[in-house]
Structure formats: C-alpha cells, structure tokens
Amino acid sequence: MVGLSLGETHFIQGGIAQDLRCDGRKRLTYRPISVETGVIPQTNGSARVRMGATDVIASVKAELGKPSLLQPDKGKVSIYVDCSSTAEPAFEGRGGDELAAELSNALQRCLLGGKSGAGAGIDLSSLIVVEGKICWDLYIDGLVVSSDGNLLDALGAAIKAALSNTGIPRVQVAAGTSNDEHPEVDVSDEEFLQFDTSRVPVIVTLTKVGRHYIVDATSEEESQMSSAVSISVNRQGHICGITKRGGVGLDPSIILDMISVAKHVSEQLINKLDSEIASAEAEEES
C-alpha cells in the first residue's frame, strides 16, 4: 500500500467524523460478507470468507492424539495463522510472522478461552474418545490471501464457518480392553459427527480514528487509527474475550461504550454469518 497524502488522510478522518466513510458506509456498517464452505477437500472442514477486498481461508484438521495430563477429559485445539506474501509485499519472507503471531494469539484468547477450557467456543469434552487415553486434536489453520484491513474479524468468521463445515469421523472403541492397555479404535470412513457451533463467538473490532470509532476498518482507515479493541461475543451476548492494540490509551468509559456497541453489532453479524453459512452449506451439498 502506498503512503497516503495529507489530503487523503483528512478525507478519511473527515468522512469518519461525518459518519460517511470513503466507500459510503456508516461508522458501524460492515462491508459485504461472502462465505464459501468446503473449499479445501482434504481437510475435515474449511471455509473462505471475504469482507470487501479482505480474503481469508480457514481449515480444520482432526487427528487422534492423547489428552493433556492436566485435563484428561478434554480434547486439544490449536490455532495458527499464516499471512500469505501474496496478500501484501510486506509479508514477504518473515515480514508477516509478527502479524500472524499476533492474530494467532488474539484468536486463541477469543475462541478457546483460558487454560481451563471453560468458555471455549467448542465443547472440548466432546473431543474425548477415551478419557485420559485418546482424544481428537483439532488443528485450526488460517491463511490470509488478501489483506484490506479487519483481518481478525474475517479470520474469526472464517473459523466459525470452517467449524460448521467440520465433520469428525465416528470412532468405535474395541470392547474388552483392560484399563492398562492402549485401547484399539476403529475410525469410520462414512459416519461423521458435526460440532455444535452455536456457542462459537464472532469477533467485532472497533477501530478508533480521531474522536470516533468504526467497525470493519479498511487498510487505509487502519493506518489512521490510534487504537483498536477487538471483542468476541457469542450468541448469548456474553463477552468471550477482549484484546486491544495500538499505542494510544483509551478512557475506560469509551471501552464500556465499545463493548455495548460490539454486543449490538455482533447480533447482526452473527445472524448474517449464520445465514451465509447455512446457504453455503446448502450450496455445497447440491
């Protein structure tokens, strides 16, 4: 992205102040969102989400592993984000690593809850096959294909869609195994279990520009930001995680405002996303 001239920065900031952004949106309006599911056939689940020119792919891979000693009754989930060098020249080589790590950490906090696993968007107990011995390990991978701002919201939406698309093979445990032996399992090729993704939150990022904040900032708008707060909200309206970036501090009352606005915006976003996912799944089955 080339640098912005002084006139351009004034135009962007003035537009936000006037509640009429460069592309005609209001401060709290998202760009058009499109969802495709099942885009990568070799994964257990995958999805592609576009918000304007921002384009991301998420996939879910499942394999059998051993539960953690600390939580023998829960499966394991890890999230990794890769910033493609085709998204931005700055991502060439290791350029995208820092942003990718930041996005991975934010998504972990927003979607997976704390170390106890409580509050996770996925019921980790449903990933257990044999308690203490066998569980499903989920590997959630995100790839940023094109970057025009608001990557965190797009990745959060793509992961939610990918989880909706995910099928976990049904596992039969051989009977008669004693407690000391490693159980023998038979993984089905035809029967699949699907996740209950109703508790998976969406992420709403509020970007502060001047005296106002906006949702779904473009790259140019993000270049004018003083700070940004990302809030993940689930369908029940509960806050699942909050992260802040950008160097400028925020008055606590503004943060409370942001949380309230994020809850309101997330209702529309969840409904929009759920209908997009449903139609994408229906289209995939046809």
Binding site: V39, I40, P41, Q42, T43, S46, I57, A58, S59, K61, E63, Y80, D82, S84, S85, T86, P89, E92, Y139, D141, G142, L143, V145
Partner: protein
C-alpha cells in the same frame, strides 16, 4: 549495457494445505518445487527479460512470483507451473515516467493532461509470452503409467517422472528422482506422448481462462 532482473520464485505450503504440514516445520516438497520451477521457467525462455528493463543501467522491474498451495493432493509441480504461467500471462506492467530528479514515478491515467515527464513505457502492457512450458507428472509401476497421481498414489509408489514440454513441442526438462522402476526408452516416450496431449489441453484451457478475464 542492460541489467536483467530474474524473478524470485517461491512455492509456499502453509499448514492449511495438507494434514502432514505443521506450523514451524516447513514441508519437504516446498524447496524442491521452488527449484524445479525456477529451472523450468529460466530454461524455457518463456519471457524476454529485456521487457522488464526500463532505463539501461539504472532501473528495471523485479517480478516476485509467490505460489501458495491450498490443498496438496498430488502433482504439486504441475499445478504450481500452471498457476505460475497463468499469473505471468495476466501480469500487467504499469506505465512509468522519469521525473526531473531522475527518479522513476508511476503515471496514472488521470494525469494525461499534465504529463510533463517523458514516459519510459507509454501504457499499461502485458508480458509477451513465447513458447509456454507445461508439465505432466506420471508414476511408473511395473508395466503401467499413472498420469496425474493423487497424493495417496504418490505416497505409495516410488517412481515419478515429470516431463515438461513447451507449446512448440520442445523438451524443456525431464525429472526422475530415483525410484526402483527403471525408465526405459519406451516408457519415457509414452510419458512424452501423454505430456504432448496434456500441453494441448492446458493451452486451450489457459486461452479460455485469459479470454474470460479480459471481458
């Protein structure tokens, strides 16, 4: 004296593309395909690198070619080469000019009236592609040849042969990385014949795709 800048070619395999690939552990196939791609594209002389030169001895375009594998299901080199060619045939070089300080600046279309600078190349243009290379990977197994193998087939069989021909029928490269099955002349000729047929199919496919994009 002209300065030619050779494209940097990278083939990436993010964790998204295969159950085997994990974060932090780069896939083994990635540098192999990158190298094969570099060799093939430079050997084929598909593009005249002079077209990337701007001002003799001073400025030239650098083309970075990044290929991301989204789903690795066999014959990665074939898919990578086809996508590289499609991208290069879609490449548009912006028009530029040299200002008074001798720096290169982009010329926007709106600036037509105030064009005080001399344009170095006058309009947006595409690369001229000459003979275009296409490839076909086959597996040799006993007396059989398996064209375009899947990842599962590749993991079981050990002998692969990749033949690269260009659109004028010239052999660009032949790649057989070991394996127990010997590549007899008849087998190579059969692979080349299959590849020749494949070249025609892919060339037609690419022409249609490019025509569709220009509308």
């Amino acid at each position: 004296m002209l300065i030619f800048v050779i494209s940097a070619i990278d083939f990436h395999m993010p964790p998204i593309c295969s159950p085997i690939v994990r974060p932090g552990r780069p896939a083994e196939a990635s540098p192999m395909v990158s190298k094969q791609l570099s060799n093939t594209i430079s050997s084929s002389r598909m593009t005249d690198l002079k077209e990337l030169s701007l001002v003799s001895g001073k400025a030239a375009w650098m083309a970075y070619l990044d290929i991301y594998c989204l789903d690795a299901d066999g014959a990665l080199f074939d898919a990578a080469l086809l996508s590289a060619i499609a991208a290069l045939s879609h490449l548009q070089i912006p028009s530029i000019a040299m200002n008074d300080d001798g720096k290169i600046v982009l010329v926007s279309d709106e600036d037509g009236q105030k064009r005080a600078q001399e344009p170095v190349n006058k309009e947006k243009r595409k690369l001229t592609l000459r003979s275009i290379p296409f490839s076909l990977t086959c597996i040799l197994h006993k007396n059989y040849i398996l064209a375009d193998p899947t990842a599962e087939e590749e993991s079981i069989m050990e002998t692969h042969v990749t033949v690269v021909l260009d659109t004028s029928g010239q052999l660009i490269s032949l790649y057989k990385p070991g394996g127990p099955v010997l590549a007899y002349t008849s087998a190579i000729q059969d692979c080349a014949a299959l590849t020749r047929q494949r070249v025609k199919e892919l060339n037609n496919f690419l022409d249609k795709a490019n025509s569709a994009m220009e509308v």
